[in-house]
Amino acid sequence: MTGTVTPLAPGSADWVRRHGLSAIDTCRLAQLHAADADNRITSIEGDLGDCGGDAFAERHPERWYDFGIAEANLVGAAAGMASRGKIPFVNTFGGFALTRACEQVRLELAYHQSNVKIAGTFTGIVAGFSGPTHHCGEDLAIARAMPGMVVLAPADAVAAYQLTLAAARWQGPVYVRLGIDPTDQVYDDSASFSIGGSTVLREGEDVTIVAAGLTSVATAVAAADSLRSQDIRARVVDLYSIKPVDREVLVESARRTGLIVTVEEHSTIGGVGATVAEVVAAEAPVPVRMLGMPDEYAHEIGSYETQLRRCGLDVDSVTAAVAGEVRRWRR
């Protein structure tokens, strides 16, 4: 067998690692691969620059359109296409889709249950040096308030690839939240994902850390590993499907560990923490402490790392916050 090279399956952890792909890269590749197999898939975008649309444009030029800098029209046109049987992926900044084109998303996608998928880039605080106009901490709250809207936040490039394929198969509107930079890999080749699902990444009895999205899940895992030296065993749940949400895993976590701490690169109002609180308040009330972007816009620019520290979302801050909560509730 010497000399034979086993081809890596697209979307697999090894494939992602080998090519150094980001979540955006694999989302775009998943769109391309879905389009290879299904001629209803179209990929449209709003002047996104170097964000991976070229391969699709080259291979399926008749199913790729750049709508320029006009998000309301981009979303409305996607809905029109979907009404004629197409499955459009709308590639734009998540913040612009969900805020600037919010009413088009509400009426044209959610109300009409249009089979349109939004691939939202530049979410959270990854664009640290771009300043507050390009930080985005509201998209999850807005998207999940819309009836019938599926909201997904993949934790890494492996999840982004698989969840993009799942979105393509799903009948109805889906928002996929993507960051921008290459991120830590959370998943290996055994990972599988489904809309409405979740993944338990670490088992523990003292506290459950529920996280979703790029960086936040990896941070939650790193914090859990670090907490072991303080004799704190944390369960870690990747809640990548924020809507529909895996109520079972949240109720089970609440019952097993009591205390829950949530970690998200989104406002603590209306996002992952709120989702968790809504479920456990109704079904298994336990304390839920939310870590996320504060209810204010950033006053200073800075690197992603700086912004994470500012929001208390770096590994050290999360570790300390979880340890503090556990000590408080053990007393």
């Binding site: 199913r63 709508f67 320029g68 006009a70 009404s83 088009q104 044209e108």
Partner: protein, 280 residues
Amino acid sequence: MTTTGTRPLTELATRIRHHIAELATTSPGAHVGGSMSVTEILTVLYFDGVLRVDPDDPQWNDRDHLIYSKGHASAALYAALAERGFFPVAELAAYKQPGSRLAGHPSRSIPGVEWATGSLGHGLPVGVGIALANRHDHNPGRVFVVLGDGECQEGSIWEAAMSAAHFGLDNLVVVVDRNGFQEDGPTEEIMALEPFADKWRSFGWQVSEVDGHDVTQLGDALHRLPFTAGQPSCVIARTEKGHGLSFTANTHTWHYGKFSAEQYRQALAELSGQRAEAGS
């Protein structure tokens, strides 16, 4: 059903106005002004052989699409759809009544309605998407988007207009009901649109300006589409807000309202006079 000759079309327009007057009386209220102004536009689209639609099969794959972006004026649309046979004329009595599907703004639960509208500025982007998909699929269905002039103050209209020309969508047609009024008053006083035709031309559209109450002029324009291959077509139909009734014409007061019994009697009298005239 195709009706030819101006006399039956004029008569149909009067019949639609009759329905509008009735709905403005029996319902909590209706957008009278914009319904009365768009009446001949809908009459020509549905009854002069312009729109290729099948009331027995509203989802027919090769149909033309009408995106009625000015969804407020639902009374006129419902009357036209009922007269065209998409649902029984008797159902019009349910307009804005509890439990009815005939809401103040059209929803897709109504046969013949392609898109839920009424929040303004939404129709043209959707039309662009349908036109793109149909062109990709070599589907003959064209897309007609009926816009109110006031809603052309929305930026999304011009985003869509720009893209329709950029993509060369000659299967897309805009018909603007240019009645010159919006809720707060004359468009030119509230937020001027003129030079309106020039705006569309500069965005890459071929424009035809017609008298929007003259079914012959409307028909002539809508039967020679596209005006130019490779370009979207725009028909600016100059109309009168509240046209057809002396007390609703040329005012924004009747943008929305409810007729009293007396107003209804007057409307009937004026409309039967027009009907006799059209039939004479």
